[in-house]
């Protein structure tokens, strides 16, 4: 397949050109437009942790991933995929290593890429009661990641700290540890609006986004009419 990234960096959209009978897996609801002979199928991939959330009836954001599979039936075709937030898209070539991806940053992947929802490394509730959850990606093929705001890579060699809401993905070669920002206590961290931080150690790449979806959601959502 060929992937073209258009309209970068703020309103990026991916144009996927599929060979005949080729498939691409994508977050459900991300299809903008496609050739008329593309077949689609949507399923729910559930996480193993029942955790704080429960039940399928939750709004999207719980530990479940709705995926659609698009297949070019009998001749080549194209599918346009768009993320939810204003921001960018990055194509990460999976080649046998493991990548941990924030669930909201997953956009699409080749069928040969394996998606696992069982990453229990860290999981915490955001102020709203929603949790940030993580996917472990492995296998071979293209992986499309999206960001809220701009996306930038940090090559960690030693130690590095990133606020968890700003993490798009990180290579599993890094060890990580979550906690509060250094020098803060719980109260000041809460009032200061800083969430949990992730301390990375070792060598590997962390993909970061300039904006924090949880912070944005909290800021805007809390002002909307109650549900």
């Amino acid at each position: 397949m060929e992937i073209q990234l258009l309209q970068q960096p703020d309103s990026a959209i991916a144009k996927v050109l599929l060979e005949r009978d080729e498939e691409i897996v994508a977050e459900a609801g991300s299809m903008v437009a496609m050739s008329s002979h593309i077949g689609a199928n949507t399923t729910l991939k559930q996480g193993k942790g029942g955790g704080l959330l429960g039940g399928l009836k939750r709004m999207l954001g719980g530990e479940s991933l709705f995926l659609s599979v698009y297949r070019a039936l009998s001749k080549p075709g194209e599918v346009y995929l768009a993320p939810d937030f204003m921001g960018d898209i990055v194509v990460y070539p999976m080649a046998g290593q493991e990548l941990v991806v924030q669930s909201g940053s997953y956009l699409a992947s080749a069928p040969s890429v394996h998606i696992d929802l069982g990453f229990l490394g860290f999981k915490q509730a955001l102020l709203s009661g929603e949790s940030l959850f993580w996917l472990t990606i492995s296998g071979y093929g293209e992986l499309l990641l999206s960001s809220f705001g701009a996306i930038y890579a940090v090559e960690v060699d030693g130690e590095y700290i990133v606020d968890t809401g700003h993490i798009v993905a990180f290579e599993r070669s890094l060890t990580f540890d979550t906690g509060k920002p250094p020098g803060s206590n719980w109260l000041s961290a809460f009032l200061g609006g800083e969430g949990f931080i992730c301390r990375f150690k070792g060598r590997g790449t962390v993909y970061c986004q300039t904006h924090n979806p949880g912070a944005f959601g909290q800021l805007v959502g809390s002002k909307l009419p109650p549900r």
Partner: protein, 233 residues
């Protein structure tokens, strides 16, 4: 018909439309889109079809509030911004039988020679029960429309399928039908979300189509869990 001189700046994510009106030239603009203008430009609110018809449409969830801006006596400049960050696209209607179908939320401005038909029956069912509707623009003159996210122009040659939430505008040389693709529907999966019915529009024929790279439903679904809940929390 005099064409209206214009510039579009800050594309594709934060596009802003600048209209350079000649002396005594008028532009029809979506109410609320004016960001800034020269002091001698006069604004007049123009309710299509009169007050009662406008109220009726508003109650039915279909309203298009328009204003007329005229540069009185000398040329003037008008800065227009759409409501959501995104792109702006210009189209010229040449007065023939062709019309442009535009998503109502995307209308920004037009020259007075353009007729806007908001009672366009052919587009029923595009959006399920929302206050978004399609407008048919015909006549002769300029029209500008906006999007959420960037605008992509797709020249359709045979057939093409678009999720209805991402349609911005299309030439009516294309025939279209709204369908539900069950393979895209999330309804059967027991989740309460906005959209997700798998509604697509299948375009056939030859003509141009404009889609946007972001959709408001996805943003709404993301924000929904953050809303305060009615029960005491």
């Amino acid at each position: 018909m005099n064409k209206i001189a214009f510039e579009i700046e800050h594309q594709p994510a934060y596009a802003s439309l600048i209209l350079n009106l000649q002396a005594n030239q008028t532009a029809i603009v979506e109410a609320g889109a004016m960001a800034a203008m020269d002091a001698h430009i006069q604004m007049k609110s123009k309710m299509k079809g009169g007050l009662m018809q406008s109220l009726g449409r508003m109650l039915a969830g279909e309203s298009l509030f328009l204003s007329e801006f005229t540069a009185v006596g000398k040329p003037g400049q008008l800065y227009l911004s759409p409501g959501v960050p995104g792109d702006v696209q210009h189209y010229y209607l040449d007065g023939g039988r062709n019309s442009l179908i535009v998503q109502s939320g995307g209308f920004v401005a037009a020259s007075p020679g353009v007729t806007l038909n908001t009672q366009f029956q052919g587009a029923k069912g595009f959006f399920s029960g929302e206050s978004l509707f399609m407008i048919q623009a015909s006549g002769q003159g300029d029209i500008w429309f906006s999007s959420y996210g960037a605008i992509l122009e797709i020249p359709v040659e045979n057939e093409f399928v678009v999720d209805t939430g991402y349609i911005v505008a299309f030439e009516d040389s294309l025939t279209y039908s709204v369908e539900m693709i069950s393979g895209l529907s999330m309804r059967g999966l027991g989740v309460a979300i906005f959209g997700g019915e798998g509604l697509v529009c299948r375009f056939r024929g030859s003509g141009r189509l404009w889609v946007q790279s972001r959709e408001l439903f996805n943003l709404l679904n993301f924000l929904n869990p953050f809303r305060p809940t009615k029960s005491s929390d």
